[in-house]
Symmetry: C2
Subunit: 393 residues, 2 copies
């Protein structure tokens, strides 16, 4: 895969997302439509210019009885008869959609490509949502025996604490930081700040993970439009270049992993993404990582190569991951505070990086002079990972 | 999309499918594994040679609680850490997967690519299966008001009968022909022949469609392996060339169509597929069409351009669609008799064309000297269509 053929460079010419949250008044079509129209208007193009549509969605069937999501979004955005499809890789569906759209433009197959992500999760009861999300793990070997995602990540957290001396206080600091960033993000699901004491005294979900260690169930959508770099300036003064986008896979079930404190899919994808992008980790100004649980943010920092295994938690503990710190992480509040509409999250992360690199986010959470950003999207407990590196044009 | 960039020609180097049917002893992983291992062995490659995996699956969540199907299949075929994903476009998921795999090789992104399709449908009650399948239509505007797929296609059949003078007897002839072909196919779900009287006197499902006008609910999987044509002969003496593969979309709900007797997505995809392939319809020796209901086979013959609108039924009535006739249609028995494991069907159709072009199917249903074949896969009532044209190398 190193040496992946690329005919030309690709740029993001527009990027938009809905607010995340409990959208009782909006269905899956409304959410996709809202993000889509915002992105099309921002690009100043007509729907007719779009040649191909890829939509990330994890479980439209389980959440709202609706599959066939690619054609559905094409239909409601008025894009028929262009080719459209849904891609799925659990919570990495959005990242996969971006990878697919990027490949389609990079290879020269299409010029103008729309990449969306959408999930409507709050129409079902909590228990049904948990069942739907269990579809991301090995259902027969994990979910069937009672495992839930908080339980799976709690296993990873416990082992990591045992191996490397992580304390619950540090996980709480991750949540406090993400709520702080989210408080400044007008599209975030949660905009309340929390303090360390609140985080530590919250009800337990799966020991050692409490309520504030877990991301919420959110409705939301995001959409970005891609074009070859050579024509991108026709549409925008600030094209954002896709330096690389790489996917990798791993076993679905934890029991087959060599080490449950490492997401090998992230390690593999990140290594290749940096090589293809010709960028060093020291050049990266901010990262969006897949913090479905606080422990996942710690693991991501390490698996992406920003800290040695067993030492990522120190960056969190020393608060280097705030905007203004050495490596701002999840400047939109991450999955924890900005929300996690599962199939949309990977695209929503890209939207945040684009807005940051353009200098367009709210004061207080804007990373000054950001030139390079990285998005990291994970499916399940790490069976899929997508790493995308973006830079100012 | 005409002028779709192609760096190089692509060939299918191996193709395999499981038997379709009610596989009480096999889960979704077992089915995918069986098709995958057969295809890998036929190609004489090692799993390590495969660089990319695309899997078509419509509704793993609704049928067996399992999403994340791309990584799951990669996991159980031992392909980690290669990039893997599931694609979905309802019953066209398999065709979409093929299109994606074809693009990946044609553009030069990858050399050896596996394209699979799998569906395990019989673990749920009939009513749950109907609900799951309703996810292929516009759930809010159709399924919510009680529409089912037999009902939707019955509307199309009634209108077509009114407009063009089609009789129930002709639809019955489609079923009789597909059961006849299926009787000679060792992998078919149904291997019983039926006669016209049996077809006409079968219980009504949705007037005018009776039991034999409807395809069954099947478990099954299929997998093909693609390579650049220039290296294909390393793996096989009979590479099958992908002349073109094209997707198109349309509205999900019938109520927004200009004409419910035409699948515009099929018309659009077919027109482009023939142009890109530089092949005339008269050169095509056999076609696999998406006969989820008998009326769909009639519409497909017309929308693909093998008959004028309103006249396709005459070819069926005159029995020109048998092996040995002017245009053999569904030589494996079609969805009707060979089975319809929804997400796998599009790949299974490709497998049939490959075996026919290689001269490898059972006597009696082998199209002699076949040089060119076409596969036509539809999602829902036509919101997605994929047309693929294959030829002997």
């Amino acid at each position: 895969m190193i040496g992946l053929y690329k005919k030309r460079d690709v740029a993001i010419i527009s990027a938009a997302a809905t607010k995340c949250g409990e959208h009782w008044d909006k269905g899956i079509k409304d959410l996709a439509w809202e993000a889509g129209v915002k992105a099309v208007e921002e690009a100043g193009i007509s729907g007719k210019d779009i040649e191909y549509l890829v939509v990330g969605n994890m479980s439209g069937g389980m959440f709202v009885g609706q599959e066939h999501i690619g054609a559905l979004v094409a239909d409601f955005l008025g894009l028929n008869p262009i080719p459209s499809l849904r891609v799925e890789g659990a919570c990495a569906s959005g990242g996969i959609a971006f990878f697919q759209g990027y490949m389609a433009v990079a290879s020269g197959l299409y010029d103008i490509v729309a990449v969306g992500g959408v999930e409507k999760m709050t129409d079902v009861e909590q228990e049904q949502a948990t069942t739907a999300l269990s579809g991301a793990m090995d259902f027969e070997w994990e979910a069937y025996f009672g495992a839930t995602f908080p339980g799976i990540y709690a296993l990873m957290a416990r082992r990591y604490m045992y191996e490397y001396g992580l304390k619950k206080e540090t996980l709480a600091k991750v949540a406090v930081k993400n709520h702080y960033h989210g408080s400044m993000n007008s599209l975030a699901h949660f905009r309340n700040k929390i303090n360390l004491e609140e985080a530590l005294s919250a009800p337990m979900v799966a020991d050692p993970l409490g309520k504030y260690d877990c991301c919420p169930i959110s409705d939301g959508a995001a959409l970005v439009i891609l074009a070859p770099l050579e024509i991108a300036r026709k549409y925008t003064d600030t094209p954002i270049i896709v330096k690389s986008s790489v996917m990798a896979s791993d076993t679905l079930s934890l029991l087959k992993r060599r080490d449950i404190c490492t997401l090998d899919a992230t390690v593999n994808a990140a290594e290749k993404a940096f090589k293809l992008a010709h960028i060093e980790r020291s050049q990266v100004n901010l990262i969006e990582v897949h913090d479905c649980f606080t422990i996942a943010e710690v693991l991501a920092i390490e698996d992406l190569g920003f800290a040695k295994k067993g030492e990522g938690w120190k960056m969190c503990d020393e608060e280097q991951t705030y905007v203004g710190g050495n490596l701002p992480v999840n400047t939109d509040g991450g999955l924890k505070a900005s929300g996690h509409p599962v199939g949309a999250t990977g695209v929503k992360q890209i939207v945040e990086i684009v807005k940051q690199l353009r200098g367009e986010v709210e004061r207080g959470r804007q990373v000054k002079g950001a030139e390079v950003g990285l998005a990291h999207n994970v499916g399940g407990s790490g069976a899929t990972a997508v790493v995308t590196i973006l830079a100012r044009g």
